[in-house]
């Protein structure tokens, strides 16, 4: 009836490397995003047109989120955070295109995203505080918290993976089940909910990434502590 949502189909082999459908879809999304960005930024003017105003609104909104959540200047983090948000959003919404499975509904893509966040936290933390300063953040608030903090660093990454994967995959899965049951018009409200969930999950993933990076970068403060305790 339905294939396992946990396995990927291999489309073709590039030498010894198996290219799965997820990777192909990701390439398509990349091409679309880059092309869209290139076209949108090709003729930027000081006096913005309507499209340019919308683009700048999106970028300014992301910058504002970074500034609010991390409490630091958004310039070094804007490409990473913005790309994460745009890519996850595009990937989540790509499930609306018939015959395309969202890349974020595959464990490998989510793991890749969480891995990037994991290393970005370390990179930005070391860049902002130095190696020793970054390692000292594991001893906050007390010395005995070191094992808990180390474990938390991995569990929160795993939590990122599973949250995004579970939401997107379950959405696509439910839509597939309902499609197989009812057919024509019934899945449309579920698709609407899926749109909303996709946007929210993209936002949550980005915000959590910002919180992790911010807690590593910022001098002190309990920012995002409630998100960190969340599994």
């Amino acid at each position: 009836m339905i294939g396992s949502p946990l396995t990927s189909k291999t489309v073709f082999m590039l030498g010894p490397v198996p290219i799965t459908a997820t990777v192909v879809v990701t390439w398509g999304l990349m091409a679309a995003l880059v092309l869209g960005g290139f076209l949108a930024t090709r003729s930027l003017k000081v006096r913005p047109t309507r499209g340019q105003a919308a683009l700048e609104l999106v970028v300014a909104a992301i910058e504002g989120q970074i500034r609010d959540t991390m409490g630091v200047s958004p310039e070094p983090y804007l490409p990473l955070i913005g790309t994460l948000f745009l890519f996850i959003l595009a990937a989540n919404w790509s499930s609306l295109i018939p015959g395309i499975e969202p890349p974020t509904g595959r464990l490998e893509t989510d793991a890749a995203l969480a891995l990037i966040v994991f290393f970005a936290v370390i990179y930005f933390g070391i860049r902002a505080r130095g190696l020793v300063g970054y390692l000292k953040t594991f001893a906050e608030p007390t010395f005995f918290m070191i094992p808990l903090n180390v474990v938390e660093t991995f569990t929160r990454t795993f939590s990122l993976i599973v949250r995004l994967f579970g939401n997107v995959m379950s959405g696509a899965f439910i839509i597939a089940i309902i499609l197989s049951l009812a057919g024509l018009l019934v899945p449309i409200p579920f698709m609407g909910i899926e749109l909303l969930i996709g946007a929210i999950q993209a936002y949550i993933f980005t915000v959590l990434a910002m919180v992790f990076i911010g807690s590593a970068v910022r001098e002190s403060g309990p920012a995002g502590s409630e998100e960190r305790t969340e599994p």
Binding site: V23, T26, L33, T41, V46, L55, G82, T83
Partner: protein, 252 residues
């Protein structure tokens, strides 16, 4: 459960490449254009601020000028006041001085006039006294003698106009009184009657009467006319003269 490690690696690479591409083609141009617009806005603001500063400077200069003008005006007013005060004081002093001087002059003139007048009066009085004395003394005759007065009276009568004489001699008008200081002796009376009748002419009715007020001399009193040659008459004339002489001296 099977993780496709190749897919994981490819996806990681894909996302990294996407981050780089989007940073290259999306975020950096947008950030640049935003920064450029911010620069232009800042430049505009700076220009506006510069213009405002210039305006402020100009206004400050104007206010300074106005304050200078006000200060100058105040100073002018104060100077004018001071000058007017000085002028007024000087005028006052000059006026006071003038008034004092005028008063002094007036007082001097008054006193001088008074002195002169007094001197004139004294001169007059003395002159009059001398005249009185001279006249009285020029009679020569003794006071009791009527003859001298009679002769002069007769002369006077003769010198008078006929109408006056007729007033004495008119008929039916009573008598002509011959007034003397003391009653005359009969021969003296006879002499006087003859002389007067002769002087008057006609036939006057002559009556003798004595009156000490005459002092000395002889007087003719009729109903209509009087002819005098007596000290009383002389004294009265002298008094009249003195009165006349007093009049111009009175206003001082």
């Amino acid at each position: 459960m099977r993780i496709d490690w190749w897919t994981l690696a490819l996806q990681t690479a894909n996302v990294l490449i996407l981050i780089w591409l989007l940073a290259r083609f999306l975020f950096r141009p947008v950030a640049e254009i935003v920064a450029r617009r911010q620069d232009e806005a800042n430049k505009l603001l700076a220009d506006a601020a510069k213009v405002q500063r210039q305006a402020d400077n100009a206004r400050a200069g104007l206010e300074q000028a106005r304050a200078d003008i006000v200060a100058g005006r105040d100073k002018l007013i104060a100077d004018a006041h001071a000058a007017a005060e000085i002028e007024r004081l000087a005028l006052l002093a000059r006026t006071n001085e003038e008034m004092t001087r005028l008063r002094a002059e007036a007082e001097a003139a008054i006193s001088r006039d008074r002195v002169a007048m007094e001197k004139l009066l004294i001169d007059r009085a003395s002159e009059l006294a001398v005249e009185i004395a001279r006249r009285l003394l020029s009679r020569g005759a003794p006071a009791g003698s009527v003859d001298v007065f009679l002769a002069e009276l007769c002369q006077q009568v003769r010198a008078s106009s006929p109408q006056e004489r007729a007033a004495f001699t008119r008929e039916g008008d009573g008598s002509v009184e011959i007034l003397t200081a003391a009653p005359l002796s009969p021969e003296a009376a006879e002499r006087a009657r003859g002389a007067i009748a002769e002087a008057l002419g006609g036939k006057p009715v002559l009556v003798f009467r004595s009156d000490p007020a005459v002092i000395a001399g002889i007087e003719l009193h009729s109903r209509y006319a009087v002819m005098r040659n007596s000290w009383r008459n002389d004294l009265e004339r002298i008094r009249e003269e003195l009165n006349r002489a007093d009049e111009p001296a009175k206003p001082s």
